[in-house]
């Protein structure tokens, strides 16, 4: 990072990468979204609610949510083995737990909602971008939701707290903290921290990340409105 706080990709410390979201990009899925989060390119597709297979997973009281986060072999510079890695299994679980509080599945007992996230190109912070796309895809499906889920990371690079850590900063940096919130209620649904922060830094980092989430929310909101209301007049 340069002296005046300009980062390796030319951003200021409190600046997000460019985000664009497109809703309803897949015809065969019940809901879908495509996000470009800086150099991340991620596709999310949702099926459901639908019958649960295997049947023993079904819950008589409520619907269940399943998530799959997968990185394409060509998403990183060196070919990635397409089999689910330890990291992907973890992120799948984390995504599921971050989306779950936002969904109201009690009206769909004995069903499952499947979220498939495919990372086409990865560049750091892909779990946050995946979560943003998945939340919009779920809204596109029409499953009742308490709120959207917006996610963004913050971290510590060269002793400074920065918003939205990219791949290079993630490798070189001292800490990385992905955070997801439900923007209207302000509740945090995901918070991970990799690295060491003092308690003061921790607080700033969390606040920075939440600020980023709110910016992401605006993009998600615009994407949904564009998809559903573009041809109409308010």
């Amino acid at each position: 990072m340069s002296e005046d706080g300009i980062r390796c990709d030319g951003r200021r410390v409190d600046q997000l990468r460019n985000i664009s979201i497109k809703v309803g990009v897949l015809k065969n899925a019940d809901g879908s979204a495509y996000i470009e989060f800086g150099k991340n390119k991620i596709l999310a597709g949702v099926f459901g609610p639908r019958d649960v297979h295997p049947k023993h997973m079904a819950n008589q009281d409520t619907g269940i949510l399943r998530c799959r986060y997968h990185m394409s072999p060509f998403s990183v510079t060196e070919r990635k083995n397409p089999a689910p890695s330890r990291r992907e299994i973890e992120i799948s679980k984390v995504l599921k737990e971050a989306l779950q509080p936002a969904l109201i599945l009690k009206d769909f007992p004995r069903t499952v909602t499947d979220v498939f996230v495919e990372v086409l190109q990865a560049d750091g912070g892909s779990r946050c971008a995946a979560l943003d796309a998945a939340a919009v895809a779920l809204a596109d499906t029409g499953i009742p939701m308490r709120d959207l889920v917006s996610a963004c990371a913050a971290g510590k690079v060269a002793d400074r707290i920065v918003l939205d850590v990219n791949n290079e900063e993630d490798q070189e940096g001292q800490a990385d903290m992905p955070v997801a919130i439900m923007p209207n209620s302000g509740k945090v649904t995901l918070m991970q921290l990799d690295g060491i922060l003092t308690s003061e830094e921790y607080k700033t980092c969390l606040q920075t990340a939440i600020g980023g989430c709110r910016q992401v929310y605006e993009v998600q909101r615009r994407a949904l409105i564009e998809r559903y209301f573009e041809s109409g007049v308010q």
Partner: protein, 234 residues
């Protein structure tokens, strides 16, 4: 005319704060009423609801649905009703009280792939929807074209007191059977009328959220706006 306040909302949007009654597709948190889906919010006589623009079909008792036979069990047919639940039509409903699995063959009456207009006799969260064909106009559909639209747009296709569907039927001389599950069968002796009716139904599906839709459909079908539906101009 009552004053109805309408707004475009996405999940998590606070529609209104105050002592109002939450109805469809909203939930209450404290005194805030929040939308759970993408749609148009309506405040009407102290009640708040959201008309969804996307979503799956959730069966309701007394709904007319169009189902497709997907399987049989010894005592019932199983129907795909475009929902996350499978519809059941008991054999006794078709064969009468003296149905015997040894004597009668289910597939003689309704085979796999057949379309049936049925009514939801009973449905609650503990079991799959039970269908019945014991009513006027219900039963196997022999001819017509099946169109799928979003279940959330069915009320728009019917229109206020059936205004929309009546004008389409009058203008094209088609007979349109609307299932609440978003499956629609159009039959018409005149192939041109059939095509026109299908086009009109698809137009409603695409433009359901826009105002003055009945007028637009009427002008597409070539009905003058101030006419009294007795003369048909094609």
């Amino acid at each position: 005319m009552m004053d109805i306040k309408r707004r475009y909302v996405i999940p998590g949007d606070v529609i209104v704060t105050g002592p109002l009654r939450p109805e469809q597709n909203v939930y209450q948190e404290g005194d805030r009423i929040i939308s759970t889906c993408v749609g148009i919010s309506e405040i009407f006589e102290n009640a708040v609801r959201v008309i969804p623009l996307t979503g799956v079909y959730v069966p309701k008792t007394n709904d007319l649905v169009i189902g497709k036979v997907v399987g049989t069990s010894p005592l019932s047919w199983e129907f795909d009703i475009n929902s996350c639940f499978i519809g059941f039509l008991p054999a006794q409903d078709v064969f009468g009280r003296d149905y015997s699995p040894t004597k009668d063959e289910l597939k003689q009456r309704l085979n796999i792939g057949d379309l049936v207009a049925a009514r939801v006799a009973n449905f609650d969260r503990s079991r799959d929807p039970l269908l019945t064909v014991q009513d006027r106009d219900l039963g196997k559909i022999d001819s017509g074209e099946l169109i799928e639209i979003a279940p959330s747009k069915v009320p728009r296709l019917i229109g206020k007191r059936g205004s929309m569907i009546q004008s389409i039927e009058m203008a094209t001389k088609a007979i349109i059977t609307i299932g609440q599950n978003g499956w629609i069968v159009v039959s018409c002796e005149d192939p041109e009328g059939l095509l026109k009716a299908i086009e009109a139904v698809k137009m409603v599906d695409a433009l359901a959220h826009t105002p003055n839709l009945t007028e637009r459909v009427k002008s597409m079908l070539g009905i003058p706006e101030d006419e009294n539906n007795d003369t048909i101009n094609e």
